[in-house]
């Protein structure tokens, strides 16, 4: 059982094929005073650079930005990993970016963002993996679980492509398996920090 008074510091969400509409739905229903930063790592086409952050912002109740290297992470903001960079969370609650080699055919790679977040936030982190056609994110979820963070996997039955969620389920037993609507409810009932 999750303790209700647990003080989280951040939410990380990873997804690939089919996740864009789920993320849009989450952000359009998230409460406007959501108390944590939401860190998104979504796979995207390498040369479709712009547009994603703009379309998310159209629907989101919270401002969405693509962070610059060394930007500080603040609550009530959504951060989207910029195209063609890996995005890491540093120990001092800031971002660092990297152009090192693609991981799981992806840059940004969810595993990188998730494992660095696990190290930075330890048990104060919520990790959510959504629909996708690739195994990226599974190892990252394992790291989050290893640091006693809270792990949530989208119910594979509700996924457009369930490779990503099933790969994660093979590596960990998550705290929760939830439908998109349940993920929204879970986030919205998190207590203020």
């Amino acid at each position: 059982m999750l303790r209700n008074d647990k003080r989280y510091k951040a939410v990380v969400i990873g997804g690939s094929a089919g996740s864009f509409s789920i993320v849009t739905r989450i952000l359009s229903k998230i409460r406007p005073d959501f108390p944590l930063p939401i860190i998104l790592c979504l796979h995207r086409l390498k040369h479709v650079r712009s547009g994603l952050v703009e379309s998310l912002n159209l629907k989101s109740n919270i401002e969405v930005v693509e962070p610059f290297d060394k930007d500080r992470i603040v609550p009530n903001k959504v951060y989207l990993a910029p195209s063609n960079y890996h995005m890491f969370i540093e120990f001092d609650n800031s971002f660092s970016l990297s152009t090192e080699i693609v991981l799981n055919h992806s840059r940004p790679a969810i595993d990188h963002t998730f494992s660095s977040a696990a190290y930075a936030y330890r048990d104060k982190l919520i990790g959510i993996i959504l629909t996708g056609a690739n195994k990226d994110g599974a190892k990252g979820m394992k790291e989050i679980a290893g640091k006693k963070g809270t792990t949530i996997i989208q119910d594979p039955a509700t996924c457009e492509v369930d490779t990503m969620t099933k790969s994660a389920l093979r590596l960990i037993t998550p705290d929760k398996v939830l439908s998109p609507e349940e993920i929204i409810d879970f986030l919205n009932q998190l207590p203020n920090v």
Partner: protein, 278 residues
Amino acid sequence: MDYKNYLQHLKKHTRYDFSGYSDNSIHRRIQKVLTDHHLNVEQLIEKTKYDQLFVEKMVEEITVNTTELFRNPEVWIDLYHKYKSFLKNKKQINIWHAGCSSGQEVYSNLIILNELGLLDRVKIVGTDLNIKMLSASKKGRYNYKFNRQYIENFNKVLNSKKNGSPKVPFEKYFTINEQEDCLEVNDFLRAIPLFRRHDLVQEKIPFYNKFDVIFCRNVLIYFNAELQSKIIQQFYNQLFVGGIMILGNHEGINGFFKTKFLKNGPAFVKNNAYHLKY
């Protein structure tokens, strides 16, 4: 793993100093070295002290060499326009690519300058920490098959004008060697740049002259804020007033030097502010 302790050993026993790298990323990269080479920290320290070849190999693994021809085409399109007014009255144009990796953006830059008729005035130098990358730069030979987007980028930058001007053929600058699956920079272009080794972290700037343009793309992202500021200050001092600095697409300037540059598109322009003493 106490990676900070290890970095002190590295600094003491080799010519490399990674203590100004971002904590999480250097930690992760050293961890990867340990895993890949099946070492524990004590063994890594021993190897660092006595095995110079290993150290060079490890540094290659730790440093990042990602680059591409006309990386982020929108940046090059912007420069193509900016260069016209910015550089046309210069008798000599000095350009430095700091952390040039395999030199692809050095050649991209030269191609634009050639299209603008400025090539004969250019002095261009590329520097990198990694000797292998410098020799790749000098050769100007790049893998072809996996990099088809090079031609796409090239066309986006040079051939998307709508005024019906004649297309610039890729073969004007490159020879495609299908047999060996590589692109070769044509000799006239390859003869122009100088490449030399330079460690941005450890060494002073090795040039007497000032620069009109300094490129340093996705290099500073691996450093902590303090080291970033130190290097930005060096770039600032080495630029002419009005000179421009081109960083990676998601790199910014933090701290004191933020006010010393004006952002104009992808370019950071050195402020004409003599009254600001520092």
